[in-house]
């Protein structure tokens, strides 16, 4: 038989006093409440059940899978599938509707805008900025200036085929000759025509140089940029008589562009994005404030 210690009873509380003491201070042996002990036991049982039911233990080549087959990955896949299924009716309607019909249907319009915004952030924001305000060399999509046009059909064509995209035979092509570098114009002629171009939009320019540049422009530039630089959308020749510049609007930058032009490239998105995604993007970009 085991030898049991005798505990003294504290006369005030009726609780046993633990035999150990520090500096003469004893400790009461107060049992925890019953519910507390029960909860503790239930927790232990629960934990055991958890080990069996859910993934719990690492093994050499993986982990115990648990009887319930729980997997967060599968859950996410399921949720994505559910979200896609939930969007399916709207996507179907969107696929059938043309742009005017989308605009006339508030629900469809809101859906297309939300989808377009998400797609834009994923695919377009890298160049055009998350707010679509563009950057030097990357067109601002919010303003009212379009190189190729800003109506639905044109935007769709631009998106599908890209600009100077190497992968698409129908891509939009417009290449400006390197007038200076290739010796087509002299340094003085380049400077003169740059001054003329700036004068078109009221930019500060040397009046005499601009005067001299008029003829140079008519001979070399008007075929693409139009008379007096009004732009030619068929060829993507930018407007030069407005306040919007793709590569800075000071005389030095303009001259540099004439001497040895830079050309931006936009990928052809047909094939990379499905037609519905392109439709959403077109609708979204058109809504940004520059749509025609």
């Amino acid at each position: 038989m085991t030898e049991h210690r005798k505990y003294e009873i504290d006369p005030v509380t009726g609780s046993p006093i633990h035999p150990h003491s520090w500096d003469g201070i004893g400790e009461l042996e107060t049992p925890p409440p019953r519910w507390w002990v029960l909860v503790y036991l239930v927790c232990i049982v629960f934990a055991l059940g958890w080990w069996v039911a859910y993934p719990a233990w690492p093994t050499i080549s993986g982990y115990t899978k648990g009887l319930l087959g729980f997997s967060t990955r599968a859950d996410v896949a399921e949720q994505i599938a559910a979200a896609k299924a939930a969007q399916a009716p709207l996507n179907d309607r969107l696929a059938k509707a043309d742009y005017t019909a989308i605009a006339a249907d508030p629900e469809l319009s809101a859906f297309a805008l939300a989808g377009g915004k998400a797609l834009f952030g994923e695919n377009c924001a890298q160049c055009h900025g998350s707010g679509a305000a563009g950057n030097v060399g990357y067109p601002n999509l919010l303003d009212d200036d379009w190189l190729w046009g800003g109506d639905f059909a044109t935007l769709q064509a631009t998106l599908e085929h890209g600009i100077r995209a190497t992968t698409d035979a129908d891509t939009r092509q417009s290449l400006m000759p390197a007038f200076g570098k290739d010796g087509m114009l002299t340094r003085a002629q380049v400077d003169d025509v740059a001054a003329y171009v700036l004068s078109l939009s009221g930019g500060a320019a040397d009046a005499a140089a601009a005067e001299r540049g008029t003829q140079v422009f008519a001979d070399n530039c008007a075929s693409c940029h139009g008379d007096k630089g009004v732009g030619l959308r068929d060829t993507g020749g930018p407007r030069l008589d407005d306040a919007i510049w793709l590569y800075h609007g000071d005389v030095k930058s303009v001259a540099a562009q004439i001497w040895n032009p830079r050309h931006g490239v936009m990928p052809a998105w047909a094939g990379r994005l499905d037609p519905l995604a392109i439709k959403k993007l077109v609708y979204y970009v058109h809504s940004l404030g520059g749509g025609e």
């Binding site: 049991h4 003294e8 005030v12 319009s109 305000a133 407005d242 306040a243 809504s287 404030g289």
Partner: protein, 479 residues
């Protein structure tokens, strides 16, 4: 009790857990008990009845007088409707309720605990059922000690099932405040109500059963935070249930015909202890566990009647009066005190504030979200343009139409994305919804001075004659 415990105990006899004694309150009769029955009937009646009240709000809003529409993000209370952005009103109501509780506590002690607290009301109801099924205190104690038998099993089963049923009705009524009552009740029984509904009913059934059936006085004594800090609201003039030691002591048994000279009026019959739902002895003085229910007052007064002694050995009284009585002086009642006047004033102010917020609530609201990326756009002729999303809240139950104009932006020109080709567009606002309207404001380069311009959007609702201006700011390049 301590005298009966042995001086030592064997290690093996120390229990793994501690048992709390069961409190088995005895039935009591009297005016306070009657008042409590009445309060219980009224409160339960309100709780179970209110969701069934109808209130016609027109075709676009629910017809339930009191409804918290979670999916619709609205709360309806008779004429009042609260939107999520007005949740401060709810916060205000909670503040009013808290101050109201402080006020009542300073005045009358723990009236809330003794009469109106759901814990008390439901425990009382559960005890009533318990008494019907198992009998009064003595019978219940006997049943508790009795060995297992069919009759014991039957009684216990009947009791626990009744409790579960009341719990289910409690949880069932709760969801009526969040759903259309006549729709959700049949749905509940046909199994077509949502998961949240069943989960709520299950949870509240279980918690009602646990709190009112099992935990009971332990909630008041060990769990309730209010019990802990209510003493901060007490002073010497607060009404508390008090035993008058000056009159009661020295207590002891008393035989009929014996003289009362040289002894107190308390005959140590322990009725006050037996009826106490928290199982305390009020003769030990005011203590935290006392919920001020006054049942011991009724119990003792019954005894006093039997002895032909005046009422009030235990009574609602103040600490000051206890002292005065001990000194043989007359009672004083001081209900108007700095504390009660202060709480009363703050309560009135807070209540008036909430009421004003509810009544002065505009049916139309607008907020302006300016585009920040980019702040402005330069257009080809040099003009600047800012984009905004206007959020228009139609807080009425009818569809509305509003016109939007610019206020105080000289030279500014407004265009609304969805109404670009209309000369004077009207925006449709569906009832009880927030409409998001994309607008662009264009300012000629000449009108831009280099510093942001403050102006406003005027929203005009011609049909109702409402006009409001939402502040906005025009941004451009710094010069």
């Amino acid at each position: 009790m301590t005298s009966r415990t042995p001086a030592t105990i064997d290690e093996a006899d120390i229990p793994v857990w501690s048992h709390r004694p069961k409190v088995m309150p005895k039935k009591v009769k009297g005016p306070i008990r009657n008042l409590k029955w009445l309060v219980m009937a009224v409160l339960l009646g309100i709780y179970w009845g209110v969701p069934w009240l109808r209130f016609d709000r027109g075709p676009f809003a629910p017809d339930q007088a009191v409804l918290i529409d979670l999916p619709g993000r609205k709360a309806y209370f008779l004429w009042f409707e609260i939107w999520p952005q007005e949740i401060y009103i709810l916060a205000g109501l909670l503040i009013v309720a808290a101050i109201g509780l402080f006020f009542a506590t300073a005045m009358l002690g723990r009236v809330w605990c003794g009469y109106a607290c759901p814990q008390t009301v439901w425990t009382d109801l559960f005890m009533l059922v318990e008494r019907w099924i198992e009998g009064d205190r003595a019978q219940r104690m006997k049943l508790d000690r009795a060995p297992f038998s069919v009759s014991k099993l039957g009684k216990r089963a009947a009791k626990y099932l009744s409790w579960a049923l009341i719990g289910a009705m409690t949880g069932g009524a709760w969801i009526l405040y969040f759903n259309d009552a006549p729709t959700v009740v049949p749905a509940l029984f046909t199994g077509s109500a949502g998961f949240a509904v069943y989960a709520t009913v299950a949870f509240l059934t279980a918690s009602t059963y646990l709190m009112a059936g099992v935990a009971r006085e332990n909630v008041c004594t060990f769990m309730c935070p209010y019990a802990r800090f209510q003493s901060a609201m007490f002073d010497k003039d607060t009404l508390v249930v008090s035993y008058h030691p000056a009159r009661g002591e020295k207590r002891g048994k008393h035989k009929a015909g014996e003289s009362w000279d040289g002894r107190g009026h308390c005959i140590d019959c322990r009725q006050c202890v037996e009826v106490c739902p928290t199982g305390i002895d009020i003769r030990d003085g005011l203590q935290m566990s006392c919920i001020s229910c006054g049942l011991c007052v009724d119990a003792c007064n019954t005894i006093m009647d039997r002895l032909s002694l005046p009422h009030g050995l235990i009574a609602y009284d103040t600490e000051r009066n206890l002292e005065l009585a001990a000194a043989g002086k007359p009672r004083v009642w001081r209900f108007l005190r700095l504390r009660t006047i202060g709480y009363g004033l703050v309560f009135t102010l807070a209540f008036a504030g909430v009421l004003y917020a509810l009544i002065a609530r505009a049916p139309l609201e607008a907020s302006v979200l300016a585009d920040r990326n980019p702040l402005f756009v330069r257009l080809s002729n040099g003009d600047f343009r800012n984009g905004y999303t206007l959020k228009l809240l139609n807080k009425s139950n009818e569809p509305q139409q509003v016109a939007i104009t610019l206020d105080g932006l000289a030279g500014g020109e407004l265009s609304i994305l969805s109404h670009e080709n209309e000369a004077s567009p009207l925006i449709d606002l569906a009832p009880d919804t927030v409409a998001a309207v994309r607008v662009f404001v264009r300012l000629p380069a000449a009108a831009w001075g280099g510093a942001p311009l403050d102006y406003g959007f005027t929203i005009h609702d011609a049909a109702r004659g409402l006009t409001l201006t939402a502040p906005a700011r025009f941004e451009g390049p710094q010069k």
